[in-house]
């Protein structure tokens, strides 16, 4: 029973990707278009380039920039959100600028980032960190503001100090929404990772895709896009997996019948 539902769930998750791949496979099999080479060609090339060839090393700088930018930006966002929650005056004073920076498309800042940080990887990490900050910040702020007042009364009645209240009430209480913010930050980070490598960069998977297109190696370009899709999906699933585990109490209480978070 349990096993069957697990298989059913897996089937539900993979049927569409499978259908897309099959359609792509047959629709492109006899393709003569230079822009849409047969999927078989792309997969052959992918194995040559990414498994046996050196292309896989392009992933290292990309993932390094992503890790530093995402972790740094999220940390900044969570800390900033907590600060704005704790100091209402600061929140009201910074509210317009925070939303302004949040809606500003981060890629538009690339030239400014180049001017600020030069052409190296610091500029890419900074851009990713900038983009990752805002979803984390706004969700942290919202999550902390949404904590039930009774929880704070309870904490005070039990003799909690400020630090204990932060660790055992505020952070866990806001954690479901902080996690949602971090997931949004991760998605923004992946986008910015690729975008930042497409402008004045010399390494990374974004650079690889753009370079292949520039020299008209369309099949190679497609392999980069496929690898990028797989990496992005894997990161997202890894995040969701960790979230499910860390917030087991949250999903458990919701499943049981709308227990308050």
């Amino acid at each position: 029973m349990n096993r069957r539902t697990r298989w059913a769930r897996l089937a539900l998750a993979v049927w569409l990707p499978v259908v897309v791949l099959v359609v792509w496979w047959f629709a492109s099999a006899t393709s003569n278009s230079p822009y849409f080479p047969p999927l078989t060609d792309i997969l052959d090339e992918l194995v040559d380039e990414w498994v046996f060839g050196d292309a896989k090393w392009q992933l290292l700088p990309s993932l390094r920039n992503l890790a530093v930018g995402f972790v740094g930006g999220s940390l900044l966002g969570v800390l900033g959100g907590a600060l704005l929650w704790r100091v209402p005056v600061l929140r009201r004073a910074t509210n317009p600028i925070v939303y302004f920076l949040y809606v500003l498309p981060a890629p538009a800042l690339l030239p400014a980032m180049i001017a600020l940080f030069g052409l190296g990887e610091v500029r890419q990490m900074a851009l990713i960190a900038f983009g990752a900050t805002w979803p984390a910040l706004l969700n942290t702020l919202d999550g902390m503001r949404g904590i039930d007042e009774v929880k704070f009364d309870t904490a005070r009645a039990m003799g909690f100090g400020a630090l204990r209240t932060l660790w055992q009430v505020v952070l866990p209480g806001a954690s479901p929404q902080i996690a949602a913010g971090l997931r949004a930050s991760l998605q923004v980070s992946i986008i910015l990772m690729v975008v930042s490598e497409m402008v004045a960069a010399e390494e990374g998977i974004g650079y690889f895709i753009l370079e292949a297109q520039t020299v008209f190696a369309i099949t190679t370009m497609w392999t980069g896009i496929l690898v990028l899709a797989v990496v992005g999906t894997a990161l997202n699933y890894a995040f969701v997996g960790i979230e499910r585990r860390a917030l087991a109490w949250h999903y458990g209480s919701r499943r049981i019948g709308g227990g308050p978070a």
Partner: protein
């Protein structure tokens, strides 16, 4: 009559000791000096002796919860004094335990029941072995078995309120303050929890102040009842409940004295 009762339960002589709680001319005004100024409590005074079980009743909206917040140290009165064991209240003292109405809001769903109960012990720097021992003790005292590793939301409402009570008992407070603690459970569970709290009070010799809008519950539980007027609250009357230390849901609630008290209380609480 009831004074002796309370003293017996505490196992000492209440007459010489200072009151556990001394409330004098308590007044609480919200939004003072603004157009939406509202007086929740006008003038409330009473004292609670060691070992007593006192219920505070009043019509809904009579500021009962506000009163409980003021006498626990969660909120500061606008004027008047609240003294606990001779000290002025600035925060919630370590010797006061508060049980809130809604267990779903006062328990922390991110911690297991065992961890929830251990929280006040951790805040008081109680060492691990002693903590584990106390968690088991209080779980037994409230009639719950092995629920330490489960989460609050995996239990029924009545069991969750038992966990909340156990959490408050774990640090052995001198005074237990309860804000409509049985209002969110079904009738049968309510009777069980009432008897549980009477037993706990007897075993631990604890002083209890319980706020409720249910006058039957107040008579069944209390040694004395403080009756409040409607908003803004004043003390309407303080009456003794001479029903003896041992109470039983069936016989106590159907006794002559119970019904007489009930009639009298109803006339006080019902709008004229």
């Amino acid at each position: 009559m009831t004074r002796t009762l309370g003293a017996t339960a505490a196992g000492g002589s209440a007459a010489q000791e200072p009151p556990v709680l001394d409330v004098k001319s308590l007044r609480k005004v919200f939004n003072a000096g603004r157009p939406d100024e509202r007086t929740a409590i006008d003038d409330v005074s009473f004292t609670i002796a060691k070992g007593e079980f006192v219920c505070v009743v009043g019509p809904s909206g009579a500021g009962k919860t506000t009163l409980l917040r003021c006498i626990s140290g969660l909120a500061a009165p606008s004027s008047g004094t609240v003294r606990f064991e001779g000290r002025d209240l600035t925060a919630v003292p370590d010797e006061i335990g508060v049980v809130f109405q809604d267990y779903g809001r006062s328990l922390f769903p991110w911690f297991t029941n065992g961890r929830n109960i251990a929280l006040p012990l951790r805040a008081r720097k109680v060492a691990r072995p002693e903590r584990d021992k106390r968690v088991r003790e209080v779980l037994e005292a409230v009639g719950l078995g092995h629920v330490e590793k489960q989460y609050p939301w995996q239990l029924s409402g009545g069991m969750q309120q038992r966990v909340a009570i156990a959490r408050t008992l774990s640090y052995r407070p001198d005074l237990l303050l309860m804000d409509e603690p049985f209002a969110s459970v079904d009738a049968q569970t309510r009777f069980d929890l009432e008897d549980l709290i009477l037993r706990v009070r007897k075993d631990a010799g604890i002083t209890v102040v319980l706020v409720t809008h249910d006058i039957d519950e107040a008579i069944y539980l209390a040694d004395r009842i403080v009756v409040l007027t409607g908003s803004p609250s004043r003390v309407r009357e303080i009456l003794e409940v001479p029903l003896g230390p041992d109470r039983d849901q069936v016989t106590t609630r159907s006794s002559e004295e119970f019904l007489a008290l009930r009639k009298h209380l109803l006339s006080l609480v019902m709008p004229q």
